[in-house]
Symmetry: C2
DNA sequence: ATTATTTTCGCAATCGTTTGCGAATATGAA
DNA sequence: TTCATATTCGCAAACGATTGCGAAAATAAT
C-alpha cells in the first residue's frame, strides 16, 4: 500500500486535486457534501500530507536545527528536552546534530541544516576561537540563529546564557557566609570562556576577603578533578570546602571523597554549579547553584519564536541562578 | 540574500536549468567549460540543493525517525549517539521524538514521522500492552521499522534487544561464584517486559541453589530503591550482596549505602546491570554487567541498512553482555 | 560537399501541494 | 424568460530539482 496523495483521492472521487485540497482545509468554496466525501475517504485512506511538498511550496520546513557538542550530556539533554516540548506545541520538529566539539563537523552540520532549510537554529559552538563566517552566512540566508550556553563573542547574534558570573558569585558568597576559610576551587579547561567567566567572578569575590585561603585548580575531566582533590587533601591540612565548577568536576571530587572516606558536611564541605541531577545522586545531597539546561531551553525557544515574529534585534539573555540547599555544606 | 537555486544560476549564466543540474553532478553530457562556469558560480553563490525538492522528487528523505521515551536518559542517549554517528556516515539525518512513555504521544509522533516520510524508524515502545496497528500501518506504507530495547511481542517486526536473560544470568552466576548467600535483588516496575525477563532469568538461576537466601524487591524509581534498601539492611542481618537491575536502581541503592556508611565490598557487595557510566561515578567503582545502548544503536542501524537494501525478513537480534569488574563485589 | 556521428544542451514532465483566477452551474430576482 | 448574483469547482502556475528524449551544433567520415 503506497502512500495516499491528493491526486489519488481526486481520482477515486472523480474531482480535481484542488477541490480535494480545499475540502480538507475546510475552504468555504467547497460544498458540504463534497467536503464530507473527501474527508471520509481521506480518513479511510489515511491521508497524511507530504511534508516535503508542503514545505517546498510554503518555503517553511517547521524544523529547527539543534547543534550541541554531544548528546550524551545531561545538561544538553535537558536543554533539548525543553526545546522539544515547546517545539511540539508549535508544530515544529527538531533536527539534532552533534559537533563533537569539532569545528569541522560544525561546518559540515551547518551545511546539512542549510540543505534542509531549517526554520531556525539553536547552536552551541564548540570552541573559543571559531570562524564565525559560516554562521553569518546562515543569517544572511535568513535562517535565524539562537546561540546558547557556549556563545560567540559577537554582538550580531542572539545569545542565551547561564548567568555564570551570578552563579559563581552566589557560590562564593555562600561559602563565605558559612565561614569557610580554606577553599579548594576546581574549574574546567582554562581555554573555555565559561571557565574564565566563572573563575573571574568567583575569585573576584574571594579576593575581597584576605583571611580566606583560596586554592584554584583546573581539571579537564572527571579523573583529573579526582586527582587534584586527593592532592590537596593531606592529613595535615584539609580544605574546609570544595567548589566544583561543573558536574564533571563534581563527580570526580565525590569519587575522591568516597575513597578518602570523608564525611560531608563535617569533614569538609562541597558546593557545585550544576543542573541538579548529579547532586541528588549522593548522600548527603550536594548543595548546588542551579544552572538549568531545561530553563535555558525554554528561554532559547521563546527567543526564537520572538525572533520569527519579527523581533530581530539581537539580544543577550541570561538564566538566573538559584541556590539549592543539599546537605553537603 | 535569499537562497540560491538552480534557476538563479541558470539565469545568470543564461543556460537552462537542466544544464546547471547536470553540470553540478558532473554529467558527461556537459562540456568541461560549462561545468567550470557553473561550479564556480555555485561556489560563490553558495548553492546548496534544496533537500525538500530533492526528496520530493526522489521520494527518499534520507531521514530516520528515532522515538524514545525520554531524551534525558543515559541509555537512550548513547543509543542515539551511536545511530547518529552511523547515520551521518551514510548521509542520513535523525528526527528524534520523545514519547514520554505515553501511547497517545507515540501515535502523534508516528503521524509526524509519516508526514515527513522518514526513510525508516527506530522505535522504543512505551508500554507492554500497546496497540500495534499504527506500526503495522507504517510498515504497509513501506516505512521500515526497527524496534529496540522495549520491543513488541510481535514476530512481524525487526527487533534489537539487550540479551537480558544472559545479562541477568551472568550477574547471578557472578554472585554465586563469589559465594554470596544472602542476596537482595531489586528490579524495576513489575509490568515492564524487561523486568519480567531479567527477573525470571535471575531468579531461575538462583533457584537451583537452595542454600542461597534471595529477597526480590521492586522499585519504580530511584527513591523507592533507596527505601527498599534501607528496609532490608537491618543491624541484625544485612544482605551480603545487592543486585540492581538498572542504573536508576543502582543510584538509589548507592545513596542508601552512603547514608548507612557501608563500605564496599567488605560490608556488602553490589552488582548492577548498566551501560557503565553510573558505575564509574563511585568509589569503589561498581561491578556491572554491561548493557550498552551504544552497541544497541550500532546494531540497530546495521539492521536498518540491511533491511533497506532488501533483506526484509524480520529478525530479532541481541546485544551480548559483558562482565566488567569494579571494586564493589 | 554531403552524410553520419558525436558533442552539447534544452524542453517538458514529474514529485505533491497550494492558490489566484476564471468558468460553469445553480439560485434568485425581475 | 432573462439577467444578475452566488455557489461550486477546475485550470494552471508555482515551489526546486531531476531526467528521458530529442534537437541543434560541431566534428568526423566518405
Amino acid at each position: 500500500m503506497s502512500n495516499t496523495t491528493l491526486k489519488k483521492i481526486a481520482k477515486v472521487l472523480d474531482i480535481s486535486i484542488s477541490t480535494v485540497s480545499r475540502a480538507l482545509k475546510n475552504h468555504p468554496d467547497i460544498s458540504v457534501s463534497t467536503k464530507q466525501k473527501v474527508m471520509e475517504l481521506a480518513q479511510t485512506l489515511e491521508y497524511e500530507p507530504n511534508a516535503m511538498a508542503v514545505n517546498l511550496r510554503s518555503k517553511n520546513t517547521k524544523v529547527f536545527g539543534v547543534m550541541i557538542p554531544s548528546i550524551t550530556n545531561n545538561f544538553y539533554d535537558s536543554f533539548i528536552a525543553a526545546v522539544e516540548e515547546e517545539a511540539r506545541k508549535s508544530g515544529y520538529s527538531l533536527m539534532i546534530l552533534q559537533s563533537g566539539d569539532n569545528p569541522e563537523a560544525e561546518i559540515e552540520n551547518l551545511k546539512i541544516y542549510r540543505q534542509n532549510r531549517v526554520s531556525g537554529l539553536f547552536a552551541c559552538i564548540s570552541q573559543e576561537t571559531i570562524n564565525m563566517i559560516p554562521y553569518h552566512k546562515m543569517k544572511e540566508a535568513e535562517i535565524p540563529i539562537v546561540f546558547f550556553d557556549k556563545v560567540p563573542d559577537d554582538d550580531a547574534f542572539d545569545k542565551i546564557c547561564l548567568a555564570d558570573k551570578d552563579a559563581a558569585v552566589l557560590a562564593a558568597e555562600t561559602l563565605l557566609e558559612k565561614g569557610k576559610k580554606n577553599i579548594l576551587a576546581i574549574f574546567g579547561n582554562h581555554q573555555l570562556s565559561i571557565t574564565k567567566r566563572r573563575l573571574s567572578a568567583f575569585s573576584g569575590c574571594m579576593k575581597e576577603h584576605k583571611q580566606v585561603k583560596l586554592i584554584v585548580e583546573h581539571a579537564n575531566n572527571s579523573q583529573q578533578a579526582e586527582e587534584k582533590t586527593e592532592h590537596y587533601f593531606q592529613p595535615k591540612q584539609k580544605p574546609d570546602a570544595v567548589f566544583c565548577m561543573s558536574d564533571e568536576i563534581l563527580t570526580g571530587v565525590m569519587k575522591s571523597m568516597q575513597r578518602m572516606n570523608m564525611k560531608l558536611p563535617v569533614d569538609t564541605g562541597i558546593i557545585a554549579l550544576s543542573d541538579g541531577s548529579f547532586p541528588k545522586l549522593y548522600y548527603p545531597e550536594i548543595t548546588y547553584i542551579e544552572t538549568s539546561g531545561y530553563k535555558l531551553g525554554k528561554l532559547a525557544f521563546e527567543r526564537m519564536m520572538d525572533y520569527i515574529i519579527g523581533n530581530t534585534e539581537p539580544k543577550e539573555l541570561f538564566i538566573t541562578s538559584r541556590y539549592v540547599a543539599g546537605g553537603s555544606l
